[in-house]
């Protein structure tokens, strides 16, 4: 769709540059300048300083840990989200709406509360944790970070996949059944390909959110450098220690990563859903 301005009189439209300028003027100090500042600061002392902060063993470990924990949380939540969306849109049962609301609940819960709740359940004196032996303890290990990530990103993939399920024409699945396919074949060959776009978007959203998770992670991980310190925790720790360059290098990496993910989400949507128009 082509956007054309509202012209009240012929000639130069004053409202156009003024309103665009105002919008950018508001965004500049609130969003653009803070982002810009990490890049300005990061490269201020030359690329050498940046690279050396980046390859510091603790920094590399924090980044790797963030990627790994976010990856597994994403895998779990996409698979579970797909399954839950299938069940909740294909079967009607008593309490279905209550389940839908519950699945979406973690969005509204402060992340610190989520971390605290996990501690109460899994911690050494928690409801489940007290039955685990010393060696089986989950809290303050990378598994705790995955659990926290799963909790806070729980509804994201589900939320993207469910509407696609709901609007998907039943006749595709019915056609597949009359042709002779089993339920599993229908799901694999017909349903799943139609969900490709939703699955990729859901996964990217979940991953982006998990990589940046701070509030719940700091509570359940113990923030042990080189053991359970994720990238956002590393930024926080280094900043507290006064090592601004070290914190800043990781900040740049995280900012770039989210920038890439959101660009993919934004521009690849059409490609991912190209056949939906038919």
């Amino acid at each position: 769709m082509k956007i054309t301005g509202i012209k009240h009189v012929s000639g130069f439209d004053v409202a156009r540059p003024v309103s665009i300028g105002m919008m950018l003027g508001i965004m500049l100090p609130l969003v653009l300048l803070p982002l810009l500042s990490i890049f300005v600061y990061g490269f201020g002392k030359g690329p050498g300083a940046f690279v050396s902060s980046l390859v510091a063993p603790e920094a590399v470990f924090a980044l790797k840990l963030s990627m790994a924990t976010s990856f597994w949380a994403t895998v779990f939540n996409v698979v579970f989200g797909l399954f839950a969306a299938y069940v909740l849109s294909r079967y009607d049962f008593w309490g279905r709406n209550a389940v839908i609301v519950t699945i979406s609940l973690p969005t509204a819960i402060p992340t610190a509360v989520a971390g605290f709740a996990l501690l109460l359940l899994w911690g050494r004196y928690g409801m489940i944790g007290k039955y685990l032996s010393e060696r089986q303890q989950i809290m303050f290990t990378p598994y705790a970070i995955i659990l926290a990530n799963i909790f806070v990103t729980f509804p994201l993939a589900f939320g993207v996949i469910k509407p696609v399920f709901d609007t998907m024409s039943r006749s595709l699945e019915e056609a597949s059944a009359t042709i002779g396919a089993t339920r599993w074949q229908t799901f694999w060959h017909v349903t799943l390909p139609s969900l490709r776009g939703a699955i990729v978007s859901g996964a990217l959203l979940t991953f982006a959110r998990a990589v940046g998770e701070f509030g719940s992670t700091i509570l359940v991980s113990g923030n042990l450098a080189g053991r359970t310190q994720t990238a956002p925790l590393y930024i926080f720790a280094k900043f507290n220690e006064g090592q601004i360059e070290a914190a800043n290098a990781i900040a740049i990496v995280l900012a770039l990563l989210s920038f890439v993910i959101f660009s993919v989400l934004f521009f690849a949507r059409d490609w991912l859903e190209f056949a939906q128009e038919a």
Binding site: S169, S171, L172, E174, A175, S176, A177, T178, I179, G180, A181, T182, Q185, H189, V190, P193, S194, R196, A275, Q276, E277, A278
Partner: protein, 406 residues
């Protein structure tokens, strides 16, 4: 019955398809009834489809025709009754084990698969060898004339092309019966007529018994070897296009298929008496007792009019009338004629009912008459002319209107 699903590539599929059976009945529906919540959707429906035959289920929307189709396909369970395909009771089998081909209203092509992948789907899920898949796809894609489009996706095809893919996709696994759900509903009028002929020709080639669903009477007359007229969940009549059109069994059939004039009368001494007029109908009134209330049903094109009381041979005189309206409607002329009919003493009901393309009913004396163009040109009438009126063909039906208002 297993042979149904097995693919025999060595035989010419267009000749031996489906396997000939001595019984001659390909599909049979026995006493199907179905309710949704409180409303009755189908009421004791029974009909057969012969080998190689095409049957059209014709009915208004909400008459239950789609439900019948879904029950045959196994997408819906009947409350009672059986579905029998080639002698085997399939009522309790799931859709995928019935070997039925459904062409859905919006075709339901798989959007992420190309034309050839769509067509090969039935063989793919049956794990048929690659060579067989390729040969089947080649043959069918040629049959439906989509050779240049084999690598395209459904959204790149026109409606008619999509429909052909949908047909080829079902033919690939040799269905026992093809079910078409309002196959032309989504297309414009011109494409519709064109595709109808194409499908008819295609079905003649592959000889798969077919059931069509439609609400379009013209479509039904053209596509069906036989037509089953459905009204409000029950079958009104099953018969050839000629039977249902020229000898409608019920008022609903008469008015749903084309236009019909309806007059209320009484059967009496080998004739139908309408007020003071008397139409000789020895054969047609035989099944009624004297004095029984009947309906005289005749089509506008079966009316003959003449200014000099000399009606053509084989035409039975009804009464006289006055031309009230003359319209040229393209291919033919349409006249409204007001009949000279008067009540007999003691008659209380309205005498006349004219129905033009249901459901609007107008009560009154006028009837509709149509004449082909040459006849209209040869003998012109003007408003106010007095004419004699005769009928070449008509049906006499019992008058149930008092018992059940439809």
């Amino acid at each position: 019955m297993k042979a149904q699903m097995a693919i025999a590539p060595d035989r010419d599929p267009h000749v031996s398809w489906p396997p000939d059976r001595s019984s001659g009945v390909a599909a049979s529906v026995r006493g199907i009834s179905k309710r949704f919540k409180k409303s009755r959707v189908l009421e004791d429906i029974s009909f057969d489809v012969a080998e190689g035959e095409s049957l059209v289920l014709l009915g208004a929307s909400g008459s239950g025709k789609t439900t019948i189709l879904r029950i045959i396909a196994g997408l819906e369970q009947p409350d009672s009754g059986r579905v029998i395909l080639h002698g085997k009771d399939v009522t309790d089998l799931p859709a995928r084990e019935r070997g039925v081909g459904v062409i859905f209203q919006a075709y339901a092509l798989f959007p992420r698969m190309t034309v050839e992948k769509n067509i090969a789907y039935g063989l793919r899920i049956r794990h048929r060898p690659r060579k067989e898949k390729r040969e089947t796809v080649d043959r069918l894609i040629k049959l439906v004339q989509l050779e240049q489009h084999r690598k395209k996706y459904p959204w790149q095809l026109s409606g008619g092309q999509q429909q052909r893919v949908a047909i080829a996709r079902t033919l690939a696994y040799k269905p026992q019966v093809l079910l078409f759900d309002e196959p032309f509903g989504a297309l414009d009028a011109q494409t519709r007529v064109h595709l109808r002929r194409e499908i008819r020709a295609l079905l003649r080639q592959v000889r798969v018994p077919s059931i069509f669903i439609t609400h379009d009477q013209e479509e039904a007359l053209e596509l069906g070897d036989r037509i089953a007229v459905l009204n409000d969940g029950h079958l009104e009549q099953v018969g050839t296009p000629d039977e249902v059109y020229n000898h409608p069994a019920t008022e609903y059939v008469a008015t749903f298929l084309g236009a019909a004039n309806l007059l209320l009368g009484v059967a009496a001494r080998g004739a139908v008496e309408i007020g003071t007029a008397r139409l000789p109908a020895e054969k047609e009134t035989r099944r009624f007792r004297d004095g029984q209330s009947v309906k005289l049903v005749f089509r506008p094109e079966d009316v003959r009019i003449s200014q000099d009381a000399n009606l053509p041979e084989g035409c039975r005189r009804l009464t006289n009338g006055v031309i009230e309206e003359v319209n040229f409607v393209g291919a033919y002329e349409r006249l409204t004629v007001r009949l000279d009919l008067t009540h007999r003493k003691g008659d209380t009901d309205a005498l006349y009912q004219v129905t033009i393309n249901t459901p609007e009913k107008m009560t009154g004396v006028p009837i509709i008459v149509t004449r082909p163009k040459p006849e209209a040109n040869a003998l012109r009438f003007k408003i106010g002319d007095r004419v004699a009126i005769g009928l070449t063909s008509f049906s006499v039906l019992p008058n149930y209107t008092l018992a059940r208002q439809r």
